[in-house]
Amino acid sequence: MTSLRIFAIGGLMSFRALFGFMSPWIYIPTLVVTPLFQILLFVFIGRSAGVESDTFYVVGNAIQYSSVPCLFAMTFTIAGERFNQTLGPVLVSPAGRLPLFLGRSLPVIVNGAFVGALSFTLGSLVLGVTVPASAVAPLALVIVLASASCTGLGLVLAGIGLRVREQAVMLNIVFGLLLIFTGANVPIEQLPEWMEAISRLLPFTHAIEAGREVVAGSGLGDVSGLLLRELAIGVVYAVLGYRFLRFMERQGRIHATLERA
């Protein structure tokens, strides 16, 4: 009961407390306008180069940009405790660590999926991309899964964020790598082989592929393999991330590494 409440209520509260993007002055420019322009940027590059269709870039960038809410929010809601100097009081509490850390990911996933879905909708409206009605529900599922699996990666970064001071720099670099490697704009088959191999281990790669197929008319059954792989990748990152956070907590007690903000 206690753990459930820490998971649900505690998670939501720390999201509100530590993720400053929720103010409309930050939310709208960062999570509504910018993803739309990223879609436009790559759609026009695509038109200029004469390669893929508009739909290709709308799906790819809407999903890839949800890494901003997922990665930044996940890192800030955990590593932000240190900057806020609330890490001590939180770690002194007897609260179970699994609900404490994982509870914070739930609002992050919901918000990330919202950003992904909104970017897709706005991008489609502006560019006149049409989606068959039957694809709406499967696409929503794809976006939620993508957001969840990226949040798993976010847990790993949150652990690293407990130690490095330049969290924003780290997150921007990861964002840039996802831009190149996940096939959001360049089909991964066109990447050199070693890059494609990395792509297969990242969140988003399979979700973007599934998203494109769904929009093209495939049913959920056709993309279930891709979605399972996306989910599995997310779960692996989440487990690694949680382990890593526990490791950082123990290290902090032994080496006093969490003390200095």
Binding site: T2, I6, I9, M13, S14, A17, N84, P89, E259
Partner: protein, 329 residues
């Protein structure tokens, strides 16, 4: 009855690295052998200058740091082995204006920690109400913490530490940076906690605070407890002696050393005061060092010279400076 808090020869070393390219590792011994016991219902003070190791000691007792060596027990359980058990039964309050969720209201800050401490959902509202009243924040609880003054933040810290009604409380410099009136109110709250039967460990570097609140005091300097006793006992250690204060305008270190070598002088400290310094010389009972002191200050430009009885502050200064000399030797 066994002690509620027990520290047995606690040591804590920090390893820090300096330099970006050629990294050198540096070991700092923050706590070097601290032992004390606190009985049930007692308010024990750790008194010492900044950097003496007070906060590190507290962090070991509240399970945030693992001791490099030594042992600590709270309510009979080891703080390393039974960290979870101990965490459920202790409250931790630290000084300063950080450590709160700025974007949340005081109420939400308390609600969040009530969840973390597993306070029953049904009794949460009532408990938070009581605490807000106790610390005098009722009526302001819906405001965001970012608009709070230091004193209000400090009171919110205390309320947070009490949410789960812990029998043992650790207060780390709770009045630091709070204005005099606010600090007085905080001290009244702390005295109230003791009256309510809590066992309290308080750290402070304010003499009068320790004197007014604590049943017993451990004076910490350079990572060690250099004296322990009731405020009265500590005062008595120097009560028989005499203190001479000499205002000087510029004094060299070797002159101070010369003063220390005077027979019967127990401690010499120099405090800066505006353009001048004040040399505080403490001497053993029955000695009258004024004459010898002035003789050795020949040629130094002098101001007022006063002789008085020692206070707790003198006891503290004597203890802390003694320790410094021993360490530098």
């Amino acid at each position: 009855m066994p002690p509620v808090v027990e520290a047995i020869d606690l040591h804590r070393t920090y390893r820090t690295t300096t330099g970006t390219f050629r990294r050198r590792s540096l070991e700092v011994e923050a706590v070097r052998g601290v032992s004390f016991e606190i009985a049930e219902g007692e308010l024990f003070g750790l008194l010492g200058p900044n950097g003496a190791g007070k906060t590190t000691t507290i962090k070991m007792l509240i399970t945030l740091l693992i001791p490099t060596s030594g042992q600590a027990r709270v309510l009979g359980r080891d703080v390393v082995e039974d960290a979870h058990w101990v965490r459920e039964r202790i409250g931790y309050v630290f000084g300063g204006d950080r450590g709160l969720y700025e974007r949340l209201s005081a109420l939400d800050n308390l609600r969040y920690f009530a969840e973390l401490y597993g306070v029953e959902p049904r009794s949460q509202r009532a408990r938070i109400g009581e605490l807000l009243e106790l610390v005098g924040l009722e009526g302001r609880e819906k405001e965001r913490v970012e608009g709070y003054s230091r004193g209000m933040r400090q009171r919110l810290h205390i309320a947070r530490g009490l949410l789960h009604d812990p029998p043992v409380l650790f207060l780390d410099e709770p009045t630091i940076g709070v204005d005099p009136v606010g600090a007085r109110e905080l001290r009244a709250t702390i005295a109230g906690l003791k009256a309510a039967g809590k066992t309290v460990l308080l750290t402070t570097h304010y003499m009068f605070e320790a004197d007014a609140l604590c049943d017993r005091i451990g004076v910490v300097a350079k990572g060690r407890i250099v004296a322990e006793g009731t405020p009265r006992e500590l005062k008595e250690r120097v009560a028989e002696g005499v203190v001479v204060e000499i205002e000087v305008y510029g004094i060299e270190d070797d002159r101070v050393e010369a003063l220390r070598r005077i027979d019967g002088v127990t401690s010499v400290a120099v405090e800066d005061r505006d353009q001048a310094q004040v040399v505080v010389v403490q001497a053993e009972p029955g000695r009258e060092p004024t004459h010898d002191v002035l003789a050795r200050l020949d040629g130094v430009s002098l101001g007022r010279v006063t002789t008085r009885e020692p206070t707790l502050e003198d006891a503290y200064v004597a203890l802390v400076t003694e320790e410094r000399e021993q360490v530098s030797d």
